[in-house]
């Protein structure tokens, strides 16, 4: 690299530093200017490029002909899966609760006092009696 280019690159490196340290007010106005400019992009071009992106990115929402059905097609399957999972969880909880209630009811209505189930000797007695032919 010749000395002229080396010098130029050093100067532009200084300019880069300076450009990165713009006053906040200027940086904000530049950002706003960008937003204003993008809002002025011709509608048909914005729609076209949005369509291209949507196609490239997979089944995401986009506007255009027949978009409500496409939107529904994109939204309904995940909703159905979520509803199904929720149903399974509710059904499992209910079933567990019913089983527990049945056991509790059987224990409470049994002639044997509940404290007997906590007694180790009673457990040994049960094992011995059930293992005999």
């Amino acid at each position: 690299m010749n000395p002229e280019k080396i010098f130029a690159h050093r100067v532009t490196a200084a300019l880069d530093q300076s450009a990165e340290r713009l006053p906040w007010r200027v940086a904000q106005r530049l950002e706003r200017a960008r937003q204003v400019a993008l809002a002025r992009m011709p509608a048909e071009l914005a729609a076209q490029t949005a369509g291209v992106l949507a196609t490239a990115g997979g089944p995401v929402l986009r506007t255009g002909p027949g978009w409500p059905w496409r939107a529904l097609a994109a939204v309904v399957p995940p909703l159905a899966v979520a509803a199904g999972l929720y149903g399974i969880v509710v059904w499992t909880d209910t079933r567990d609760a019913e089983e527990t209630a049945e056991v509790d009811a059987a224990v409470l209505t049994d002639e044997l006092p509940i404290s007997a189930y906590a007694d180790q000797g009673f457990g040994v007695y049960l094992n011995n009696t059930t293992s005999r032919p």
């Binding site: 100067v11 300019l15 450009a19 530049l30 400019a37 071009l45 949005a50």
Partner: protein, 194 residues
């Protein structure tokens, strides 16, 4: 065709440098911001259908044209101001063109002092050096400055710079060479070797 996202990313990547370009030329924050905004709007309104690779050159052309338009309008305004002043029997000063460049350097240095890990003294010194470099770039003749910034800061090749400036490639090389030597001499005179 550039998508909205590509256009947005492109503008975000060039907006700060574009502001500096405009500021070096017009020497006023608000005017420079207006020029950059107009350039962005013109790009999105008229050239959004161009491929992303063509956007840098188009944007530079638009920016340079808008800066030149600004000076043309200012020239016309100055003519009317001078005429009206003559009719009123008194002459006003020429305006910003006679402003002391050292004053703007001092203002910039004071404005740009920021936080960081380095000491306050180092920060001030660095900011002052940056300000001096910017001041000297701002003092370059317009065509030399344009060629230098496009060629080396925007990293455009000679042909692209020539296209954006509307001149021959030989002129671009001459402008760049003169700008580099003038800048080196000016900075050396102020004790700076970037």
């Amino acid at each position: 065709m550039a998508s909205r996202q590509e256009l947005s990313a492109f503008l975000a990547s060039v907006e700060r440098r574009a502001f500096k370009h405009a500021f070096f030329a017009v020497r006023d924050d608000d005017v420079a911001l207006d020029v950059v905004q107009d350039a962005m709007i013109r790009l999105t309104e008229k050239y959004a259908d161009k491929p992303p690779a063509e956007l840098p050159l188009i944007f530079q052309r638009i920016l340079q044209n808008l800066i030149h338009d600004h000076f043309r309008r200012q020239k016309v305004r100055n003519v009317w101001t001078t005429l009206l002043s003559a009719l009123r029997g008194r002459r006003d000063d020429e305006g910003d063109s006679d402003a002391d460049p050292l004053e703007s350097i001092e203002v910039e240095a004071a404005d740009a002092v920021g936080g960081g890990t380095e000491s306050a003294g180092d920060t001030v010194e660095r900011e002052q050096i940056l300000s001096i470099i910017e001041g000297e770039i701002g003092r370059l003749p317009r065509r030399q400055r344009e060629a230098f910034l496009m060629r080396y800061w925007e990293e455009m090749d000679v042909a692209e710079t020539a296209a954006a400036m509307g001149c021959s490639e030989g002129s671009v090389k001459t402008h760049c060479s003169r700008a580099t030597h003038a800048l080196a001499a000016a900075l050396k005179a102020r004790g700076i070797t970037p």
